[in-house]
Amino acid sequence: MATVYIPTLLRHLTDGIDQIQISGQNIGQVIDGLDSRYPGFKKRLIDGDEIHAEIAVIIDQEVVDRDLLEVVHQDSDVHFVPSVSGGSAKNQESFRVNPLT
Amino acid sequence: MAKLHVETTINGESTEILVDPQQSLLETLRDGLMLTGAKEGCNDGNCGACTVIMDGRTVNSCLVLGAEAQDADITTIEGLATPRGLHPLQQAFLENAALQCGICTPGFLISSKSLLDSNPNPSEEEVRFWLAGNLCRCTGYDKIVRAVLDAAKEMKAGN
């Protein structure tokens, strides 16, 4: 199962828990799993059929695309952090930056 | 307002042009003569991107009227290289990577040429003083100053 790190501001959804083991083949399934255990995640993380433009998803230290089909492995670490952007519209390219490694 | 008939010499060629009285020399060069090497960065004399040499002296062409070019002898960036090749300053700018975006480059080259015309052996401080009216936002000036000093050396050796 993948380890999902819960952003500080969403920990009220998980009663303060900051790491959760969730199974899922892709990021969409992981968010579904999160949301079924702790309702509210989907609304916060997903915009239409993709990850919210203001959120960067990091799987195993790589910023990944916003597509919900992005593959998650059994031992993956998943982080949600704010993306660095400048007032982006949908489909408009914002200034998205790798916040880590 | 009636257009004015102006006879002038640009890059060694005598030229006749019609200008509106309110047209600047920069606009005259760019829009009238399609010499777009001089750039507009501020239109008030504070960036130097439009620098040309007029009667032996650098001027901000945005602060000169096209009408004032009557009987003048003007050198623009387009007149710096010859059919034989680049001016040593142009070569030195390339070799020193003294440009990034390149928008300020024509102004710097023209100002540098006028510096070396009057002072073939400038110190770093003199180069910096002479070029203070030309803003560059990309390079931090380091490589530009080195290029001018290199070109001065090169031209001296060539003489």
Partner: protein, 759 residues
């Protein structure tokens, strides 16, 4: 002079790491290069834009009739001419809300939200006629109270800039303060307990002002809307695909109907990523039926484009006597400008990324104010936070009596260490970069005067990957045409070409790079995020691998053998089985037509493995205690560049970033009056450094390879600005005994600080 420190063994590359003359160089030194404003088309009209004189005002009415009656005026538009974006924002999500903001920023519909906000545009046969037409447009305003800084914007009862700002709850159901568009928080460990156990705790407040990227070329573009409803835009932007997509969104027309042709660009630094001008000029061209050109004046550039945020920052830090940082507690408020979207998130994430911090509470507020909508500016959001963070780190180091570099080295982050947002560093060179300045002769050299001081600081930036495309075409004479989509702002054509040259074993000069329009190359993201040499270079590498594979097959045909029997070394193809059978790249290229036709290669990549970057500076200053003027005497800037593809242009990025940082530290700021009108919208009073204000800037290239890139490159463009303001402030402290907690450290502010110290 620049120096290079290689952390690992140098590899055997032949082209990577050399300094070829840039391919576009001759055009740029002869004035032939065509920038945005250099376009002239038959029947072309000139555009002027009417802008709000008020920082916050309702548009009661706009009357354009008199303007239209002026001979030579061919089209006038107002906000009403832009398509109405989806209005049911709450139901459509924030994508729709952001689209409305973008469209509104292009031209105000009901309210002007900052001085300089566009409200109408005119296209006329001559520029002066367009100017005259502006004064004939009658706007009736209802002036509203303006909010001009984060504190007053967030105060209870503050005037609301947006009546319908979509605000998400901060935590649980707690509503954010007024005018706050976004709120972040990172919380790890237990800061309260850590502060209690600390030997020393320092808490400070910092302020910085809005600043501009200061590119020398004003925004400019030309549009032609043709009878078949297709649209062509010529522009100087940081990404023409972005211009195409943004224009398609705002005008609600198909992407396929828009062609964007990139021209040379005179600087950007983040300020030419998004722009509001394209939809406006497109609609004017549609109305007029001919091409229209618009170039901003310098004042419009300052007042009507996106500057970098002004900030208000509170930082608390604890440490043990041993030098170990125990905890940080930070609150950052950034001015977003008139619409949501400052870079406060980046400030929160990056300010302490050079260090291992086990207990951290960092929050950020994205605050709407009646000022221009902010945009990216070189490492957006991070230099401000680094100024605060690295100033206070310096103070803590001093308070426990440690050398400022040793203190930083003691806490420095390395591979696998966690950042405050919980994510982990990969292979990084923070430690090596600090060691490079520590061991540099500059750090050991004496200062030469009573009013001199030396400061150091380090900064971090994450860099970006995004998407790049590239095509290669092998010509019969052995040269190669390279078609790419990254706008070249600082010599990237050559860095990209060098990737292909290295793979193919030919000189960089034999590659002919061209930056192609949106119809001639695959999608390529903006030139930003320090990504271009890294990602577009990598795309060229991949395309070249494809070419090489095909060439090996063709060589096999010529050698009458199989591809696995052909090797390629240094640009020569050789048969393994028969040493006499060999062909140079050029020879093989000449035979391609007879063995299957031309060879092309192409690649589109969205690379992973982005390498992050650290930069550290030593700055010496001298302060005139009577006038308050600060002169920078010497700068050494070390940076982990991974592998310098073209060292000259890497040094150039470092030197340019340092120069911008010095300007930001000492003199650059937007000065607003009480009504929100900028007082200094020109290069005379927005004081960017001149050649006489700066010393030579020594760049030290630290090469700790990025394992995520074929040649080990890291993005280099942004991080050099990050530590500069802090290193200048730390130097000024050592020269004056005053810790300046507000930027700029302009002469008047220096004297005010000295006066306060004496009392």
């Amino acid at each position: 002079m620049a120096t290079t420190t290689t952390v690992e063994q140098k590899t055997t590359e032949k082209v990577i790491g050399t300094r070829p003359i840039r391919h576009d160089g001759v055009d740029k030194v002869t004035g032939r290069a065509i920038y945005g404003a250099d376009i002239n088309l038959p029947k072309m009209l000139h555009v002027k834009i009417l802008r709000s004189p008020h920082a916050h005002a309702r548009i009661v009415s706009i009357d354009t009739k008199q303007a239209l009656d002026i001979p030579g005026v061919k089209a006038v538009i107002t906000g009403e001419d832009l398509p109405e974006p989806p209005s049911q924002m709450q139901n459509l999500g924030e994508g729709a809300a952001n689209l409305r903001f973008l469209s509104d920023n292009a031209m105000a519909r009901t309210k002007a939200l900052y001085k300089g906000h566009a409200v109408a545009a005119v296209a006329a046969t001559e520029l002066y006629i367009a100017e005259e037409a502006l004064s004939a447009i009658k706007v009736t305003w209802e002036i509203l109270p303006a909010v001009l800084d984060t504190e007053s914007a967030m105060a209870e009862g503050a005037p609301l800039v947006h009546d319908d700002l979509p605000q998400r709850p901060m935590e649980g159901d707690q509503a954010p303060p007024p005018n706050v568009a976004r709120y972040f928080r990172f919380n790890i460990g237990d800061t309260q307990q850590a502060f209690e156990e600390s030997d020393t705790v320092v808490e400070r407040e910092f302020r910085t002002q809005m600043v501009h990227q200061g590119y020398i070329e004003p925004q400019t573009a030309t549009a032609l809307w043709k009878e078949d409803e297709s649209l062509t835009i010529w522009c100087s932007s940081q990404g023409h695909f972005n211009v195409r997509d943004q224009t398609s969104n705002i005008l609600q027309i198909p992407v396929s109907s828009i062609k964007v042709i990139p021209l040379e660009i005179g600087g950007g630094f983040g300020g030419k990523i998004g722009s509001t001008i394209y939809p406006v000029i497109s609609l004017l061209s549609k109305k007029a039926g001919v091409p229209v050109k618009y170039s901003m004046t310098r004042a419009e550039v300052f007042e009507g484009t996106g500057p970098g945020s002004g900030t208000h920052m509170r930082v608390k830090i604890g440490a043990m006597k041993t030098g170990k940082i125990t905890a940080v507690d930070v609150s950052l408020s950034y001015e977003a400008g008139a619409y949501p979207g400052s870079s406060v998130a980046s400030g929160c994430q990056n300010m302490f990324s050079p260090y291992v911090i086990e207990n951290a509470f960092i929050e950020g507020f994205d605050v709407i104010v009646n000022k221009p909508k902010t945009a990216a500016y070189r490492a957006p959001g991070t230099p401000q936070a680094a100024y605060a963070g690295e100033s206070i780190i310096d103070e803590v180091a001093e308070s426990i009596g440690m050398d400022p570099i040793d203190f930083r080295l003691l806490n420095v982050a390395e591979e696998d260490d966690s950042r405050v947002d919980g994510t982990k560093h990969r292979v990084i060179g923070a430690k090596e970069t600090l060691e490079a300045i520590k061991n540099h002769p500059h750090y050991k050299s004496p200062l030469n005067g009573p009013n001199q001081g030396r400061g150091v600081a380090i900064g971090y930036w994450g860099n970006a990957g995004m998407t790049s495309s590239c095509s290669l075409i092998v010509n019969g004479d052995g040269t190669v045409n390279l078609v790419e989509g990254s706008v070249d702002i600082g010599g990237t054509r050559t860095a990209i070409a060098m990737h292909a040259a290295e793979v193919l074993g030919i000189p960089a000069e034999d590659i002919h790079p061209v930056v192609a329009d949106t119809e001639s190359v695959g999608m390529t993201s903006i030139t930003a995020g320090s990504r271009t040499a890294f990602a577009s270079g990598w795309a060229a590498y991949e395309a070249a691998q494809g070419v090489l594979k095909e060439l090996i097959e063709r060589a096999a045909t010529v050698f009458e053998t199989t591809p696995d029997q052909v090797v390629h070394e240094d640009g020569t193809f050789r048969s393994v089985s028969d040493n006499d059978k060999k062909l140079t790249f050029k020879e093989l290229a000449g035979r391609l037509q007879r063995v299957g036709g031309p060879v092309i290669g192409q690649a589109t990549i969205t690379p992973r493995g982005v390498g992050t970057a650290f930069g550290a500076d030593i700055v010496d200053v001298e302060v005139d205690p009577e006038t308050g003027k600060v002169q920078v005497l010497r700068v050494t800037a070390a940076q982990d560049v991974g592998r310098a593809i073209h060292p000259s242009y890497v040094e150039g990025q470092i030197q340019g970033g340092v120069a911008q940082g010095i300007g930001w530290a000492l003199n650059e700021e937007y000065v607003f009056n009480d009504e929100g009108v900028m007082q200094n919208p020109g290069f005379l009073d927005y004081r960017m450094p001149t050649s006489l204000d700066l010393p030579m800037i020594e760049a030290v290239l630290v090469e700790k390879r990025n394992p995520g890139h074929p040649y080990g490159a890291r993005g280099v463009g942004e991080v050099p600005i990050v530590p500069v303001m802090a290193s200048v402030a730390n130097a000024v402290y050592r020269a004056t005994g005053v810790r300046y907690q507000a930027l700029p450290m302009s002469p008047g502010n220096i004297i005010a600080g000295l006066t306060q110290k004496d009392h």
